[in-house]
């Protein structure tokens, strides 16, 4: 993932970094939080001009990526975003795009895809339901066929950037088959209520669909391909989280190691104490493991490998288990300053903790890994 081997990828990453350094430093994250804002849509528009919403989209649909491997490029951006836990709808927009471009009726949605690529429109995957855990194949929301299309009823929640989304990709039960629909946020009967998260700027929403009428063209993909689309969307959402967490850990570990070298107690650097040195060593091991497993997951998703489902769950479980505890170690190593509002550590801890539990907890992914293992054994 960060094996940015080709020069275009290196340039792409450094452009992204320069943009984020200038436009989305940690101070900006704090400002947004202080004003109760999540992100600035004009800012996202500029990010989209850098190609942040085009990587998963084929050229014939107006997209393209610098390296030809859009998934790897996208992971690279996510990792950069982790460095300043930047705001913005990178995850929801690209997750929706992953589903739209793979759908066999992608052409029908070309205007939506184009607007998303341009950063003029924001979309989000409405997949969680109130009280429910991560289970994208199960839904209580219904899509009832009508004369002109479908009527959507039900409630979704934890919809990222729901308040700023112009359209939702909604998984719904249509005559006992799961299908997905593009539902405009301004359609009659759609009610969006904001939900705060543990993160300073990431906001979510509860979205109620009360007799919402959509046309027949709102459906995304055939019934037969919908499970595959759901799986792909899930994988994209999950590797984005993992890559962003790698960027978070890399950044926090670097400044914590520096602290261990600079900070002196009893006339010695902190890192000279073996108890602390060993804690640092453990974090280095976990960090390289996080990078290794994320890289493997990104590569499998990029290649659409049959093992992608397994690799992604392995990475999500491992990072979920390790990232937030590593940041807690870093807080401990900083001492009292680590638990102050002024220090930036909590900004990183917030984002990593949010991702630990969204799109599958480590426990849920462990169950998935076990189930996939037995399936493979039975198949062989």
């Amino acid at each position: 993932m960060t094996d940015a081997a080709n020069p275009e990828q290196v340039l792409f990453a450094s452009t992204a970094q320069a943009f984020l350094d200038k436009e989305a430093p940690l101070s900006r994250v704090r400002e947004l939080h202080a004003t109760g804002a999540s992100f600035d849509t004009a800012w996202w528009h500029r990010a989209a001009e850098l190609g942040w919403a085009s990587m998963l989209v084929p050229e014939e649909l107006g997209g393209g990526s610098v390296s030809g491997d859009g998934v790897a490029d996208l992971a690279l951006i996510a990792e950069q975003i982790g460095r300043t836990v930047a705001p913005g709808p990178l995850h929801p927009v690209n997750t929706v795009l992953a589903g739209l471009v793979d759908a066999d009726n992608a052409e029908t949605h070309s205007a939506t895809i184009e607007a998303l690529v341009a950063g003029e429109l924001i979309a989000s995957w409405a997949v969680y339901e109130p009280g429910g855990s991560w289970s994208p194949g199960d839904t209580t929301v219904t899509a009832t066929p009508t004369e002109s299309g479908y009527r959507i009823d039900g409630v979704k929640d934890r919809v990222e950037a729901g308040e700023q989304s112009g359209v939702f990709l909604v998984a719904a039960d249509c005559e006992s088959t799961i299908r997905q629909f593009l539902v405009p946020a301004d359609a009659a009967g759609v009610l969006v209520e904001g939900q705060k998260s543990i993160d300073l700027v990431k906001r979510y929403a509860r979205v109620t669909f009360d007799g919402v009428e959509v046309g027949a063209e709102a459906v995304v993909g055939s019934a037969a391909q919908t499970p595959a689309l759901l799986a792909r969307q899930g994988q994209i959402a999950q590797i984005l989280q993992c890559a962003e967490v790698v960027g978070i850990l890399d950044t926090v570990l670097a400044f914590t190691v520096q602290w261990g070298l600079d900070r002196h107690s009893f006339g010695r650097p902190l890192g000279s104490y073996q108890a602390l040195k060993h804690r640092f060593a453990d974090m280095k091991i976990w960090f390289e493991a996080c990078r290794a497993t994320t890289g493997a997951a990104v590569a499998d998703v990029a290649a659409r490998a049959p093992s992608a489902e397994m690799s992604v769950s392995v990475a999500k479980s491992y990072l979920g288990d390790h990232a937030a505890p590593m940041l807690q170690h870093c807080i401990q190593l900083h001492g009292g300053i680590g638990v102050t509002w002024e220090h930036d550590l909590h900004l990183y801890l917030r984002r990593a903790t949010l991702y630990r539990s969204m799109f599958g907890t480590p426990e849920e992914h462990n169950l998935r890994v076990y189930a996939l293992t037995t399936e493979m054994e039975n198949a062989s």
């Binding site: 040195k277 091991i285 390289e288 497993t293 169950l367 076990y370």
Partner: protein, 424 residues
């Protein structure tokens, strides 16, 4: 000692056109099918490294490999090998899955001892010992640790004194892997006591079955007795037993440790054949374990097993990540210690998970055979101790990768005969 690259090619190329990797693999496939015994990978023959039988068997199998022209694939042709790059060894490994191979000869004989002799030995030593090992005539081991030493490997007190034109060895070594089955050992001894500890050491190649060596097996908690301790009483050696320079034995020992770290991660081109060495080395089959305990549908057991499978998968990914990172320079060579620790932690996590899943069947033999997981738990720490402890490896990561100050050592720069060795 200079670093060697992992790919060795030889000046003495075979005559005629060079055989391609696929051609070599095809020839290996045919030869294996006609000459080597097949094994069921799920039911491997028990290769107890502490018993004599497997070592005799390994020598026999190695002789077959040699006779067939598939031994020492990456060792130079001058010393009995084939002088081929790593890709040929990997191709052979791939073809040899499902066949019985002398895998217990890999470490330490080939990956550590022969590799180190190749780097540091005299021409005569290379011709005798590397060739001997490749022919299946010689098993090589390391005689490094001492009863008084522990992690302080350079603090050896086994002495080599000059008497006329001979060296006379006195002292003791311990934790020598499979020394009972060996022909020669690389022995580190102190030859100068008036200089700091690293500067007064010399490496010797010692014939194990010599008068002056008394060997004793160490019985381990799991019943294994592969490790040995040796006592040296006026063992006499000549100058041609010296490996490297006199008083520069630490350079040779460092080379051994370098090769050992590479071998642990599966990154040695000198290993031939892959896979478990026997039943105790086999991966835990979690679905089988859940079935045996009637917990196949128990979400708690499935979740625990899933987490252990995650750790196992990540360990494999980490090995590959570190191997490539060291190769492309994004990680320092000391990153081998990352794999060293994570391997131990993964083994520990897996054994703990298995013990938890089997419950009381792991501690009372109810006839199910699951008490073997209790036995494995008892010797769990082996993985965290062997080949240097986790604690030393954490120091390596903290100091050589992260750049923190080195641990205080009271013996640094101090002539060895002035270093304090025990409480007054």
């Amino acid at each position: 000692v200079t670093e060697t690259t992992s790919v060795r090619t030889d000046d003495k190329a075979p005559h005629g056109p060079v055989e391609s990797v696929p051609d070599f693999a095809a020839r290996a496939r045919a030869w294996l099918a006609n000459n080597m015994p097949r094994v069921d990978p799920a039911n491997l023959p028990e290769a107890d490294r502490g018993a004599e039988g497997p070592w005799l068997r390994a020598r026999e199998l190695q002789k077959k490999l040699h006779a067939g022209g598939f031994a020492g694939i990456c060792f130079p042709r001058d010393y009995g090998g084939l002088g081929l790059p790593f890709a040929y060894q990997k191709a052979f490994d791939n073809e040899s899955r499902g066949y019985e191979l002398p895998v217990i000869l890999n470490t330490p004989t080939f990956t550590i001892c022969a590799a180190t002799i190749l780097d540091t030995g005299t021409e005569e030593q290379k011709r005798q010992h590397i060739s001997g090992a490749i022919r299946g005539d010689e098993v090589l081991v390391q005689l490094l640790s001492e009863p008084s030493g522990g992690s302080d490997l350079a603090g050896v007190i086994t002495r080599a004194d000059r008497r006329g034109d001979r060296w006379v060895i006195n002292g003791a070594k311990t934790w020598s892997t499979s020394a009972f089955a060996a022909d020669y050992g690389l022995l580190l001894a102190r030859t100068n006591w008036d200089v700091p500890k690293h500067e007064g050491l010399t490496m010797f190649l010692v014939p194990i079955k010599s008068p002056g060596i008394t060997m004793r097996r160490i019985l381990q908690v799991d019943g294994g007795n592969e490790f040995c301790e040796e006592f040296f009483d006026d063992l006499e050696l000549s100058d041609d037993a010296v490996v490297g320079e006199v008083n520069d034995g630490w350079a040779v020992a460092s080379r051994q440790m370098y090769h050992e770290r590479r071998a642990v991660g599966g990154g040695s081109e000198f290993a031939s054949g892959i896979g478990a060495e026997g039943e105790t080395d086999q991966e835990i089959d979690y679905p089988a374990l859940l079935e045996a305990t009637g917990r196949s549908d128990d979400p708690r057991a499935r979740e625990m097993a899933g987490r252990a499978l995650v750790r196992r998968a990540v360990q494999e990914q980490l090995i590959s990540h570190v191997y490539h990172g060291v190769l492309d320079g994004s990680l320092p060579a000391a990153a081998g210690s990352i794999i060293r620790i994570s391997h131990a932690e993964t083994v520990q996590f897996e054994i703990d998970t298995a013990l938890a899943i089997v419950g009381s069947a792991g501690v009372v033999d109810d006839g199910s055979g699951l008490s073997r997981y209790g036995d494995r738990f008892l010797s769990r720490q082996t993985a965290s101790l062997g080949g240097g402890t986790n604690e030393i490896a954490r120091n390596v990561i903290g100091e050589r990768i992260l750049g923190f100050p080195r641990e205080h050592a009271a013996d640094r720069g101090v002539p060895f005969n002035q270093v304090k060795h025990r409480r007054d």
